[in-house]
Symmetry: C2
Subunit: 459 residues, 2 copies
Amino acid sequence: MGTTEITALVAELKERLGAKVTTSESARAIHGRDESVFPPQPPDVVVMAAAVDDVQEVVRLCNRYEVPLIPFGAGTSLEGHIHAVSGGVSLDMSAMDRVLRVSPEDLDCTIEPGVTRLALEKTLSRDGLFFPTDPGADATIGGMAATRASGTNAVRYGTIRDLVLSMKVVLSDGSLISTGGRARKSSAGYDLTRLFIGSEGTLGVIVELTLRLFGIPETIAAAVCSFPTVEDAVATVTAAIQLGIPMARIELLDTSAIKAVNAHAGLGNKETPTLFLEFHGSPAGVKDQAQRLAEIAADNNGAGLEWATNLSDRNHLWRARHQAYFAALALRPGSRALSTDVCVPISALAGCIHDATADLERSSLPSMIFGHVGDGNFHTIILVDPDDTVEMDEVRGLNQRLVERALDAGGTCTGEHGIGTGKIAYLEAELGPAVDVMRRIKAVLDPKNIMNPGKIFRL
Amino acid sequence: MGTTEITALVAELKERLGAKVTTSESARAIHGRDESVFPPQPPDVVVMAAAVDDVQEVVRLCNRYEVPLIPFGAGTSLEGHIHAVSGGVSLDMSAMDRVLRVSPEDLDCTIEPGVTRLALEKTLSRDGLFFPTDPGADATIGGMAATRASGTNAVRYGTIRDLVLSMKVVLSDGSLISTGGRARKSSAGYDLTRLFIGSEGTLGVIVELTLRLFGIPETIAAAVCSFPTVEDAVATVTAAIQLGIPMARIELLDTSAIKAVNAHAGLGNKETPTLFLEFHGSPAGVKDQAQRLAEIAADNNGAGLEWATNLSDRNHLWRARHQAYFAALALRPGSRALSTDVCVPISALAGCIHDATADLERSSLPSMIFGHVGDGNFHTIILVDPDDTVEMDEVRGLNQRLVERALDAGGTCTGEHGIGTGKIAYLEAELGPAVDVMRRIKAVLDPKNIMNPGKIFRL
């Protein structure tokens, strides 16, 4: 691809799609960076898709001119997923934001990929329904599917992998496929739905999703409990999961995170590892779950267990958890946050957090740890100046050692953020020859390597 | 492939693998048919694999001689999955039946693929654990993964798709890959675990599985409730799911099934549509679920609701459900059972069952209907003489119309049995151009088309 192809492509895009196409500096800048620490890499041109036809048109042209195409949702990814590493077209899906159908009886809906998490929440709440997957950011559902996102309630409801019934996808030749229908389960051929979930735009453009929904629980109870050690908190979680207590959310903030939140938001939480819990169900069911959890927490040195069921009290209790990310950013104003997301078997979780803490304490960079502890998934947030090469070397070293320890424990380098450009080497370390299988699938579905090239693996 | 290649392959197999290789008539016959109505198609040779090395050896030889290879578990598949449609090697995995590791703390285990469902249940029960996926037959776990099996409790625990954390697979060139580790969730690259689940041996041989486990519930309660109509029974299920009552099992037997069971097992169940339910949890949690369900059933004309919590009482209550398949076979001794398994959105379920009933009543063939109604998945069992071409034409017509109605409703032709040879045309009808994507993946991962050829799609 050279400037000649780009110039010709842009001219043809403008001819066919008119005002949906822009090469303005500001649009390119917005579409050239996500929430990662990596330097921006703007695309050559931005196209705002309004319908499936637009997507097919753009993909066909990119195919003809052999120019890269990068689907863009809300720009909230964390590993450089939407960076235009080889230039090309950023295909902004955010205007394809219609909720096409909601079926309360079937607990499912069909949406366009640009619907954001909070917009969907608002629409569904009118029917007393919700879609569980909740990464911190107000990402688009298409982007969440592309990165196999999850969040705080995966422990109860699964990740987005489990909650997409089927999709429509535009392939690299511009053709449109449907990966399935509305059945809750199917054994009909290869699981293409799951193949596209987590493919990070490298195999096709997701243009429609059919999602599994849930009724908003009759009762929601929140709880907070502090522990002398991370080991005690994790032991509580392990025991609760083994006993089958259906916790909807179970989040850990370690001492560094509680300190950061107290400082940032003027809270007075006890500065020890703390669990934030949520239970969903009937009034009697939630009460039973809460009692059982309280017994387990007490057995594991939990203290100061507090409960709340009405919304404002719940929000008050969970305030420290809600503030965690902002508290992290406030540790060093003006810096960027590197958020790691290893996931390990729960028996290895306390050890991995312990080792991460020790490693972070040797560093001069501000940091904190919190996580979706029911899944064995935790984040370290490290505040860094991306322009300082010494700091970036240090943060790469911290990340590398963290991932190595997670892989040694049988875990994964990424529980929910994806590979993007940032974890390509770690994917190789984790899966080795299996990455070649991914490359072969990529090669056969995108022979010209135009779909978000340079992500997940090197060809 | 001709007889020369087979002869040379068999000679080399015997040289390398000795007594694990047999061409005896009886072994070939056993490995040439599953539980479907399709005529047997025996392989040319059977190899009993004892270890991963054996599998790699056999695959490499099949690759060199370009001879088909068909992984074989327990032979309980229902759509001709293990039939040797082009001859070749049946690779029997049933001797690879070791449970390699059970980790109660992490609620996971690693096993060889030949472990059967009941053998696994027995081993896990020593640690108070269980693996939920329960197709009727005592299938191997490898076979269950290969067909994306589920069963009665998928409504609560998901299908095997949701419960395999990772696998080791031998590819068509004999190389071995691991699709992941032990993390509960991962966003690390393409979801190869899900790609191999449901691939029916056409992409590789599963040689190891890491499974997610659950603690055996403290309390298990069973219930039975009869309804005047299928609509009332389904309305009860819909309401219970919308309210988030976490039913572990919810099975429907229609009037034809209840009649068959009463006749076969001398039971006195009321001959109307009947729901069989099971609840898992703490004593208080189960009691709460049961009370809520009872209210919903009463609102929908349910009658004669009976409950039981101890094992023998539960088994007594569920006796009709447990006997359903045998009762179906007894409708016509000596015949074969064709078991369909469409799955539809639950709002379409009552209508689909109604239409299926009407269609079956016009047929002279004995039949019954039961299903995993919480998933929208139901079976019609039709008793047929496979050697009678008129009957086979009739049963094909019934199946075809059933599938067409399911697809019209947004459903799938197969909820849990898979495509095999029996549903190739239906897969095309269901997914159209997406089947080409499957073909391309097949072509790149198995360029010589040696891995269970002739299944899922025609190349």
